[in-house]
């Protein structure tokens, strides 16, 4: 019995060894392992040449003086006996041990009276003037050298030809080569590309990470009426914000033409906005205010919001024009003026986006609160009716928006197919949901949002920046801007995930304590979550900067600017000495980034 088992066992072991061998054999086949090739002489010669080139990065050069000294030689030997003329011994001169040689024959070349420490190639100069390098020489302290060179294989020529020694003597101090200079410029570009990508990525990843944290989202629950009203509220809020933005820009555009009025507007409008907001948001309030008071406050806040939009638009045009004006007078630091006008441009681009988010968020959350209040107050049968109606409307709206999105990609352009059918399906699904949920059930909307957010982040993260940059190159053209956009997008996805995991691992105690004081959700996050996550956030941001520097060195391979572009070019041109300089620069930057980020991490955490 026992013996049988051990027999079975050894058969099993034997079989698994066979399986492992087969697996590796197949692996060798598919990866085309070919060891004969590694020993091929031709390849070894090339490899040696490349490795030697890589070992000599093209960074420092000396200005050189060149001296060309020639000695006549016959290839091959003619029939009559020849003698060579005595060399001119007043300067450096060459002596060969024979006056003629056959192809592939070795001859000894000696040089006298050269500049000590000079070096250079020995070339065979054919009758046609073609130059064939035979070897290199380097003179000793007496200016003497001795090299045995092999004659090239040539068609027989009767006339005399020459051997030429080109002696190069460095004069003056070392200088950076052009390669070194352009490598420096590009490595600076690379580091800043990574810096910008990390900054913008971090700014957006912080808010996103809260939505991707399960412990914050899992207790966000709303009644169906509230959820449906939120879904309806968002698009309307965005629409209202867009209209408001357009209306106000009609007002502000003529004002921004005059710089004095522009500056005045930039100063006055925040003051008004702040004063109004202070009135509408009193510092402390013990009682819930009455309805007319609340309406008055909402109206005041709207005026305040209009002032802020006004401010943003005026500020954008002010920065743009001031920046443009500064470029000329600032001279060498004109890039500061350019930066100011670019910031103006960013404000201009960001204003409608911020407004859309704020408008959507405001109307959405207002309706959400309203829906929640309805659910809390009204009786079940009323709520059921409200749920049915709004869920159907929200479902229809959501699916129509999806339909519009699909139409943008596939150009169906048939209103029945892109609006009517999806709308009907959405309404039916909404109705089903409303029928299935009890009137006052709290739906786990936070958990749903969490899963949606996680899915989007994982999908974005799985696309390598090297691939993303291809899309951005199409959009903004080849260059570092495309690279930083691609890296920023990837940073958002990657950091949001890392951040949200930190949020999930915070201590729940302070969260509970702050909640128990009657704080709302935002206050709870600011007072209980944020202080706990600052150290890991800093540490992950540093780590990501480190990664981004490394990524940005190769993002140029796909047209994303930075040093990668240069490196790829030089590799393709077989200019290994330049490529070596760039590889060295990358290694230095990555190593020092690693050091800096770990030092900073230690200090902050």
């Amino acid at each position: 019995m026992k013996k049988q088992r051990s027999l079975l066992r050894s058969i099993g072991v034997g079989l698994s060894v066979v399986v492992v061998i087969v697996v590796f054999a197949y692996g060798f086949k598919v990866t085309k392992v070919n060891l004969k090739e590694t020993r091929s002489e031709q390849r070894l010669v090339v490899l040696t040449r490349i490795l030697r080139a890589l070992a000599h990065p093209d960074i420092i050069t000396y200005e050189q003086e060149e001296v060309n000294i020639e000695v006549p030689i016959y290839l091959p030997c003619p029939e009559e006996i020849i003698t060579l003329p005595e060399p001119d011994k007043t300067g450096p001169y060459l002596v060969t041990d024979v006056a003629c040689a056959a192809s592939k024959e070795f001859i000894l070349v000696e040089g006298y009276s050269f500049e000590p420490g000079s070096k250079g190639p020995i070339n065979f100069i054919a009758l046609s003037g073609a130059k064939i390098q035979l070897d290199n020489f380097e003179t000793d302290a007496n200016g003497y050298f001795q090299v045995s060179v092999q004659m090239p294989t040539r068609q027989p020529v009767v006339e005399v030809q020459h051997l030429r020694a080109t002696a190069r003597v460095p004069v003056g101090g070392p200088q950076f080569t052009d390669t070194a200079k352009i490598t420096w410029a590009k490595i600076v570009e690379t580091v800043f590309l990574a810096l910008l990508a990390t900054t913008f990525g971090t700014l957006l990843a912080v808010p996103v990470s809260f939505f991707a944290a399960r412990n914050l989202m899992s207790d966000v629950k709303s009644s169906l009426a509230s959820v449906a009203l939120t879904i309806i509220g968002w698009p309307f809020g965005i629409l209202i914000a867009f209209l408001a933005n357009r209306w106000i820009s009609e007002l502000s555009t003529p004002l921004s033409a005059n710089i004095g009025i522009n500056v005045g507007g930039v100063i006055i409008s925040p003051v008004i906005a702040y004063a109004l907001a202070r009135w509408a948001l009193p510092q402390e309030e013990l009682e819930t205010p009455k309805v007319p008071m609340r309406i008055a406050r909402i109206l005041t806040l709207m005026v305040s919001a209009i002032c802020i939009i006004f401010l943003l638009q005026l500020l954008a045009s002010l920065l743009l024009s001031v920046g443009q004006m500064l470029i000329q007078p600032l001279g060498p630091v004109g890039f500061l003026g350019n930066f100011v006008s670019q910031v103006g441009e960013i404000v201009q681009i960001a204003t409608p986006i911020i407004l859309a988010l704020a408008g959507g968020g405001f109307v959405g959350s207002f309706l959400s609160t309203y829906g929640q209040n309805l659910s809390d107050r009204l009786s079940d049968s009323y709520i059921k009716g409200i749920n049915l109606f709004f869920a159907a409307a929200a479902g229809a709206l959501l699916f129509m928006l999806v339909g519009a999105g699909i139409n943008w990609f596939y150009q169906i352009n048939d209103p029945v197919k892109i609006y009517l059918w999806p709308g009907a399906v959405g309404a039916v699904l909404g109705l089903l949901l409303a029928i299935r949920t009890a009137p006052k059930d709290a739906l786990p909307i936070g958990t749903t949002l969490y899963f949606v957010m996680r899915t989007i982040l994982n999908a974005t993260r799985s696309v390598e920046p090297l691939v993303m940059v291809i899309v951005f190159v199409v959009w903004v053209g080849i260059g570092p801007f495309a690279g930083s956009l691609a890296l920023a997008l990837h940073t958002i996805a990657a950091l949001s995930k890392l951040y949200s995991e930190q949020v999930e691992s915070i201590l729940p105690g302070p969260l509970e304590a702050i909640k128990a004081t009657g704080a709302n959700r935002l206050q709870t996050i600011v007072y209980a979550v944020v202080p706990q996550i600052i150290p890991p956030y800093i540490s992950f941001t540093m780590y990501r900067w480190d990664i981004n520097v490394r990524m940005s060195t190769i993002i140029g391979f796909a047209g994303g600017g930075g040093i990668g572009f240069l490196l790829q070019q030089n590799i393709n041109l077989l200019d290994y000495r330049s490529a070596s300089a760039q590889m060295l620069a990358i290694a230095i930057v990555v190593a020092s980034m690693d050091y800096i980020s770990s030092t900073l991490r230690e200090r902050f955490v």
Partner: protein, 250 residues
């Protein structure tokens, strides 16, 4: 006046934490809640301010049914319920004064508080509360630089700055040594006697119950086993509450 009627809490996975618990607490009373670990004391306290949603039953406070209140209403009600925790639950990287001011979050304007701006009157109030618990000189230290006893005093100051009508204390002295325990309990007693704040406090040690509480309730496996004055807990009652093998110490 707080009235708890037929309160039941069943956690996910059919864990019965509270089983049909009913009792009431008068205004200005110091109520101790005793029982073994896991008997449902913490759940009971958290049901009162609805950090834990009760499964069934009613909690009526000053005529308002808390179990029916909406989330918004509940936030306003929580302002009047201070809570003190076993592990203090301070935000350890924030300053002491910020931890205390956090108690005002329910009152202040949310937009300003998010920017870390508090009204001057609140800052003064916070300093006053810290003075009351004897650590005003530590106000600008980080919370994790304080000792355990000091941290719990910050916890009490945070509850007191809410100007509460009720304090829920969840084993406030279980992580402290006996001397510190008495000093913390004395602060709670002072708040109870001087300010007339109702205190519901879960405790482990019977001597603390005898010393500080006006009345005690006892829980065992979620059921209310006892409701009366501390003096009424005789050996028979004790065994009923803590099980047959338990022995009285202290």
């Amino acid at each position: 006046m707080l009235e708890v009627r037929n309160l039941t809490k069943i956690y996910d996975g059919d864990v019965l934490a509270l089983d049909d618990v009913s009792f009431s607490v008068n205004q200005g009373e110091f109520l101790a809640c005793i029982g073994l670990s896991g008997s449902g004391k913490s759940t009971l306290l958290r049901c009162i301010n609805r950090l834990v949603e009760p499964t069934a039953g009613k909690i009526i406070w000053n005529g308002i049914d808390l179990t029916e209140a909406s989330q918004d209403e509940m936030r306003r009600i929580r302002r009047k319920m201070g809570m003190v925790f076993q592990h203090f639950n301070l935000v350890s990287r924030s300053k002491v004064i910020i931890n205390v001011l956090a108690g005002r979050l329910g009152y202040v304007n949310p937009a300003m508080s998010v920017l870390n701006r508090f009204p001057k009157s609140d800052v003064e109030l916070a300093l006053k509360q810290l003075e009351r618990v004897g650590i005003a000189n530590q106000a600008y230290k980080r919370a994790d630089e304080l000792s355990g006893g000091q941290q719990q005093r910050v916890g009490i100051a945070r509850a007191m700055i809410q100007e509460p009508e009720m304090i829920l204390a969840d084993e406030p002295v279980a992580s402290l040594d006996p001397v510190l325990a008495h000093s913390i309990m004395q602060y709670l007693e002072q708040i109870n006697k001087e300010d007339g704040v109702m205190v519901i406090c879960s405790l482990h040690f019977l001597d603390l119950v005898h010393r500080y509480a006006d009345r005690a309730i006892a829980l065992n496996e979620g059921k209310l086993m006892f409701d009366g004055t501390p003096e009424e807990i005789d050996d028979a009652k004790f065994k009923e509450i803590y099980g047959k093998e338990a022995e009285r110490v202290g």
